[in-house]
Point group: C2
Amino acid sequence: MQFNPILDSINVYEAGKPIELVVREFGIDNDDIIKLASNENPYGCSSKVSKALQKHADEAYRYPDDSMYELKKNLSDHLSIKSSQLIIGAGSDQVIEMAIRAKADSDRPILMNSITFAMYSIYAAQVGTPVVRTSSLEHNLDEFYELYADQKPSIIFLCTPNNPTGDAINTKELIEFIDKIDRNTLVVVDGAYMEYASAKDENYSVAAHQLIEKFEHVLYLGTFSKSYGLGGMRVGYGAAREEIIEALYKMRPPFNVTTLSLVAATAALKDGEFMHKSIEKNFEQMELFEKFAKDNGFEYIESYTNFITWLLPEHLDSSELSDALLRQGIIVRNLKSYSMNALRITIGTPKQNQKFLKQMQRLLD
Amino acid sequence: MQFNPILDSINVYEAGKPIELVVREFGIDNDDIIKLASNENPYGCSSKVSKALQKHADEAYRYPDDSMYELKKNLSDHLSIKSSQLIIGAGSDQVIEMAIRAKADSDRPILMNSITFAMYSIYAAQVGTPVVRTSSLEHNLDEFYELYADQKPSIIFLCTPNNPTGDAINTKELIEFIDKIDRNTLVVVDGAYMEYASAKDENYSVAAHQLIEKFEHVLYLGTFSKSYGLGGMRVGYGAAREEIIEALYKMRPPFNVTTLSLVAATAALKDGEFMHKSIEKNFEQMELFEKFAKDNGFEYIESYTNFITWLLPEHLDSSELSDALLRQGIIVRNLKSYSMNALRITIGTPKQNQKFLKQMQRLLD
């Protein structure tokens, strides 16, 4: 059978290895496995979320409220924007997909950082739109501007803090940059890890309302998958002026967020304390990873997220190291597929981190 | 801002009115509302499902197993096909979307019944592919063949039993039809309500394995939203030969099914008894709706599903009737948007049905 020729250029996205498969392969007990690969909140989700899920479990038969009234009301209050300036996706991934399908065209490329969230280029490939990347490891806005002026992209993706590197863009520089971009180019500011950056340093904090008030050509992305601890529930959002939101809505599949995901996200929003404590513990624990790198002579990228990226020296191979860790039941993200000799490690619980760092030290000694 | 010109021709899908909004509008108590509009399983979900959801609620933080190993293993056993012949979607809706994006092209239209599931044409519009429809109310395979021969569609959608009309295609005729279609045209057999049809009359029963064994150009769709009682969890599937499944996988967004949806669907599969009892009660109760129609001089379409479509006589207006019902807290689907003077009513629980029929009789008297 002949398919859409676009398919020939699409690689299937390879997700982090599910814990269950690792168990099967190495015969390691489930409880002994440490997964530091997907930047989940290692403290799980708020107990208010799990209680709400338990309470509403028997509503699994009922179609979701497709207007998402409750969640949008709570979230728009939280973000200090209007409900009409929000669209909810099955993860912010889905908002990325809707944005690309609504805005991209085949004549203009999509501009993004050299190394950044993989989904931008995956969804670009699905619509057959070309991708242009900067060459710098971290977001270099001068380079972005040069490429913008030269290539006239339809969409510019700025991921701050950036995944999988952890660096962030200075807020003032970000806003100056966006202001220089013409109003027919969509600037997507992906703040999936923004709650971490905001807690760490206000100079790297960006709020959705701040962007929306100023700019008609910005789409801010947020997610419940990271600091809110709902990686499994697939809830993210886009915030923008109504013109953009209405366009995205036309590419939204109905009932794109499950009944229980709406329950979970609404409950998560109401427990800011859980989130803030998770973030506090995250940065306390991150110091151990920074110290470990220094002690062992590694470089690392200063992180505004819940993970750290270790740039390994030449004599250490990230693939060999991640394989060796896997055999011990420890899963981290090898960045070889991004052409980096680096490991991206989610900052886990104190117990997980201790075990990981001990095992890592053993491999290096 | 300029967007993809395709957006100009897209209407946003209007979902059934969420119960919560009706409550707000008419000040009706939540417990007094009867929703017979979305063809959910009125008996809810299996208690095994709600127990599994409660048990796994605190896993909401963990990304789904994107290989969907457990669910695919259980489902492929259940369907007597290989795991590699399955793709899981966020509802079978998403498999429809993936199929259209993977197969449709702008030169060939998509062929479907005059009145059928709305999502086929919505996703067709999103990729800008034209739609051709038969003129008959029920699937007329001769007419389908004529249009096929004339229009050379890329995809033919057959919805059996059909939503929103409830009629089904005879299995033998279906298979003869598919055999006449060239192997570069994808035939999608949407069996969202198939469990009901199979229970009612084996002459209208189609099994995924039966189609896959015979045909290389068929995609069978099934869902957990209807008889399995998981409308809120968004889990459906496509079953086909590997060549088709691999193409759809390229258009699949990663992590498209939530962690708890995988848990729910796997648990639902293991409680066939709940499903079979729901179906048995469904057809017992449907007799009351058939009798009511006859007693009041309506036509109705013989239904192989968990809903019935009443074709109203000229002096009764479906919009007026559904509005009047709404004010009593009863929600049914008015089919005016399909250019039918008809109501589609989900067969509810005995108590719901009694209340609905009583209220309906009052409106007619």
